[in-house]
Structure formats: C-alpha cells, structure tokens
Chain length 328, copies 2
C-alpha cells in the first residue's frame, strides 16, 4: 500500500509532515510506503535529519508549487497545477498511490479532491466527516463544512457516508444515526431538518435514532451525527476553540497542577490530534484532510486513517451502498 | 416598578422562584415590588418559610393552571388560559406590571409572549438574546432559538435588537456586530449569510465587524453575534453542555481539588446562572426567559435583567430604532 502525503501543508512544513511520515512507517507493516510530495530540496533536507531509517519506504515526488493559505479553492487547479496538493492527488487518481493525506487549506484540498478524484456515482455532494470527542466514544459528524445550503436528500446521503465510515473505520457494526436539531420531536427544526428527519426515519438501510439537540452531542448517544455543513463547521470550530480555551484557562489558573496525570488525561480526551484527519467521504478515492496546525502525531494518525480506509475497502463499500440507492 | 415572576416555571417550583424573588427584593430599591403568579396555596406556603420579610413588596396572584414541559407552544393560550405564564403576561400587557420573568418551557413563554405582548412595529420576528461567556466580556447571541429559516433581513433586525440591548443593558456604547459564519471573507457562507453580510455592512446604524467563525466566538471580539435561531440554539445548548461536561470531568478527576478557589473561579466564568435570563427582544414588553433548571440566583439575576430593561427604556429604544428603519 502506498500513501501520498502532501509535504507542504502544515504551518511548519515540511518538518511536521516528515516527522509524521516517519512515525507512521515505524508502526505500519513493511508492505506500506509513503510518497512525500513537495519541494524536493526542502523535503530531502528534512529527511536527512532522520537518517536512521530505511529510506526505500519513503519516496519524494517533486512539486515546485505550494497552495498558500487563503488561495481561492475554486482556482487551485487552474492556478496551481504543480502544487503539492494537485500533484499528490493526481498520483492517487492515476493509481500510483492508494490514498492522499494533506494538511493544506481545507477548501483547496476539498476542491482539488472533488475535481481530480470525482464524486462516486449516487453521491451528489461529498462531505467531510470529523470525529467529535464525547463523554463516550467519539461521534462522526457529517458534514463538517464541505456543503452549505443542503437539501434533505443530501443529509440522507451524508448519513450513508457516515454509516459506512463508522462501520469500516470506527468498528460500529450498526451505526446509530442522529440528526442535529433544535428539539427532540420529529416536527422540530427548520424546513431542512423536518424533511430530513422524515426521510432518515423511513430509510431501511439506516438505524436512525432521531434528533440530537446541541446539549446531547457531548453525551455520545449516536455514532454518526448528520448536519448541514454550515452548522457543522461552526460547531466543530467552536468545539476545538472552547476545548483549547478551557485548557489554557485551567493551566494558567492551576499553575503547577497542569502536569498532573489526571489533568493530562482530561486534556488528551479533548485533543483532536488523537483522532487524526477528517476524510472527504463520497469521492472516488481516499482523501484525508488535516489541520494546518497539525502535529507530527496528527499527521501520523491521519496516515493511519488513510491506511485503514484503504484496507477496509471503504470507497468500494460507499460506491456499492450509494449507487444502488433509490431516493427515499 | 413591578415585576411579574412566574412562580411555577422551574423544575423545583415554586421554592426556587420564591427564593429568587426574595433575593432580588433584598438588593433592589424600595420602590420595586414583585408579583408571584401561580398556585396560591403553594406560593403562600413557600412565602411563610421566608417570614422575615416585608411582604407588602411581594404579592401573590393566583393562577390555577400550569404549563407542563413538553406542551405544544402554539396551543398554550387556548389550552392553558389560566396558567401562570398566560396570566402573568396578561398582568404585564394590561399595564399592571412592567416586566415578566419565567423559567417555564421556552417555547411556551415565547409563544405566549408573542401573542399577548405582540411584536413591535418594524419587527418581523422577535428573537431571543443569550449571553455567551467568552475569554473577554460576554457576547450577546441573537437569535438563540426563536426563529428558524430566517431571511437576510431578519438577521439585520436581530442585529438591531442586539445593538439596543448591548447599549442599554451591557454598557457597550457602540456595540460591535458580528455575523456567525464559516469563513472570514464576505463571500463565505450559505446564501443567507452571504446576503446578510452585505446588508449588515451597508447599514449605517450598525458597527459591523464582519464574519465570526466558530473558533472566534470564544475570543469575544464582538458584542453581538447575529445568527439564525437554528445554529444559535445548537451552539448555545452545546456550549452549556460542554462546559458542564468539562466541569464534571475535572471535578471527578481532580477529586479534592475541585474546591480550590482558582477552579471555582474558572467554573463560575462558565456558569450561566451568573448571567440570568434571556430576553425575548422585539416584543412590546419585557419578557425574560430562564432555564427550567434555574437556581434562585439565576431567577434573581433574571429579575435584575428585567428591572434594568425597564429602567433603561429598552423597549422604547427598540421601538424607535426599528419603526424608523428602511429595509437595507
């Protein structure tokens, strides 16, 4: 198996990416290798610092260009055809690699993935799945920001995408699907969620557990939380920031106590880098999107997620599930 | 000044309400009194337990009925005309009291307030304002759940409602208005927020500071955060639950440390009862909605908010601002 890693994505590229790739190789089986895409000189310089490793499992593919943060996602292909994102995705699309991992701008990775890998048959709008820490197991939220102004049938597709991911990667045999909403009763919510609720409830391929209010998310009573990408994105970013804020505030106020194992454990439960990247679900390939501020551990975990996605045949399962779908 | 307090709203009514009313009277000036509305026997029984107080400032108005949680908001007036919510609001509407405070079901209080007090001229959709704790001062989020499927001009009205409230009750002379969105740039977001952004930006009566992403909320860079009630409600409930969850988790893991003043202070910053109730902005009257799980302190603070709203002539200011508004 071969995973392409965008070497130029993080805020501190390529050091973070190279360290993450080394960490992944250390724990993954021998038949697994990584292609780092990016500025060859920078990448080779960084690799030399980790000289103690079988370099035959770590390849470099030169990409002279880099998509800078803030670049308009829609023009990435036209304006940055030689960027690490576009070249990396092409390696995957051409079958020279099995998956793609990038910590570049989310919008750019998403747009390029959509264009190069293309949506699977039956998928109108590929969506981003993100793991939210909860009081129980993590919950996969779909969509975390790829799509706004969704229609009810899009939310049903998100549910199916999440269903397969939860089965293949999260070990949830019969994933419970929840709909993010502002009340428990089926008639609660905006037009989108009232109609989506009805469709989800009558879909025979899903175990729909009903509406999940804001206050229920943290309880972890579902495996997949379905929502429009607008609300999902607001919620995700808020969650990340509030967790960081609490930690900073506590560390400051509890000076000296911040290193206690109990506190560390609490913080770790809220640490997104434990979970790795967010998959773009519904494209014909594996594309894992990481934070620009990722640590080597986060990159390693995203590579692990990519490998698991390939190994479990997630894309084939999604294709099979969605292409046969009658609209409900 | 006279404030009507629904005596039957909280989960532990009327004890909480009576204790909250006593606490409010203790700190408010002598020309201020409270009417508790609800089951007279229960209320008088509870009042007797606080016998050490000038009862001429605490009146009881009998209401034989009570709106139970889960009652359909739309039918509250028809089915529960003798409830504490409906009778209390009528006292206010008839001019026999200056404000109304209730910890009853949010939907019921909102529906009854809309019907009995009526929206002010120029206000299409009254909205709930809620204070969110941030790293700086609290931010007023409008709408926190009264309205879904909003149009861009509704969000502009929410901005004006919040603007007046922030001036009159939060001491923010020139309130900074932010729009909840999924990106910083004006063109980011769904159809609603792209159009709302343009209208807010060209409104001469507002200091619009642009889009606020989920991760920016906690930083407190605006005074009023404008959003559709769907996203607002999800966010609010999530925030409350996640703060509680962190506190519970830390208390459990830091057994013995939970009582340290630094930790208490951290918890207090996240404690909604510090902030009191949420006003329904844009009706012809003062209606303050509290949590069903309110403490006496939360009720006291909501009464304080009600008194401040009356004293600052908030309703007149909203009426003046909104009735003269040309749609932007």
């Amino acid at each position: 198996m071969r995973i392409v890693v965008d070497g130029m994505g993080t805020d501190r590229a390529p050091g973070i990416e190279v360290a993450g790739a080394f960490a992944a190789l250390r724990e993954l089986p021998d038949d697994f290798d990584i292609v780092l895409v990016g500025d060859e000189t920078l990448l080779r310089g960084e690799l030399e610092r980790h000289g103690d490793f079988p370099l035959e499992r770590l390849h470099v593919e030169h990409a002279p260009d880099r998509v800078i943060p803030g670049a308009a996602p829609a023009s990435v292909l036209r304006k940055h055809p030689d960027s690490s994102i576009v070249r990396g995705l092409r390696l995957h699309q051409e079958g020279r690699a099995d998956a793609f991992v990038s910590a570049g701008s989310t919008g750019a990775v998403m747009a390029a993935s959509l264009f190069i890998l293309r949506p699977l048959e039956g998928v109108d709008r590929p969506a981003i799945g993100t793991l939210l820490p909860t009081a129980k197991q993590p919950v996969l939220m779909v969509d975390a920001g790829a799509n706004v102004d969704c229609k009810p049938h899009h939310l049903v597709q998100f549910a199916h995408l999440g269903h397969i991911y939860a089965q293949d990667l999260m070990g949830r045999e019969e994933p419970r699907i929840g709909l993010l909403n502002i009340g428990e009763e089926p008639e609660k919510g905006d037009e989108l969620s009232v109609e989506a609720h009805q469709r989800l409830a009558r879909d025979p391929g899903l175990l729909f557990v009903g509406n999940i209010e804001g206050r229920e998310i943290i309880r972890g009573h579902c495996d997949v939380l379905v929502c429009d990408g607008f609300c999902g994105n607001v919620l995700l970013k808020f969650y990340e920031s509030v967790a960081q804020y609490f930690m900073t505030m506590l560390r400051r106020r509890l000076a000296g106590l911040g290193d206690r194992p109990e506190l560390q454990e609490t913080f770790r439960a809220l640490d997104y880098s434990e979970y790795g990247g967010a998959p773009l679900l519904g494209v014909n390939g594996v594309s894992i999107i990481c934070h620009g501020g990722s640590s080597p551990k986060a990159i390693r975990n995203a590579i692990r997620v990519a490998a698991q996605s390939v190994r479990s045949s997630m894309v084939e399962h999604i294709a099979r599930d969605l292409s046969s779908k009658e609209p409900v």
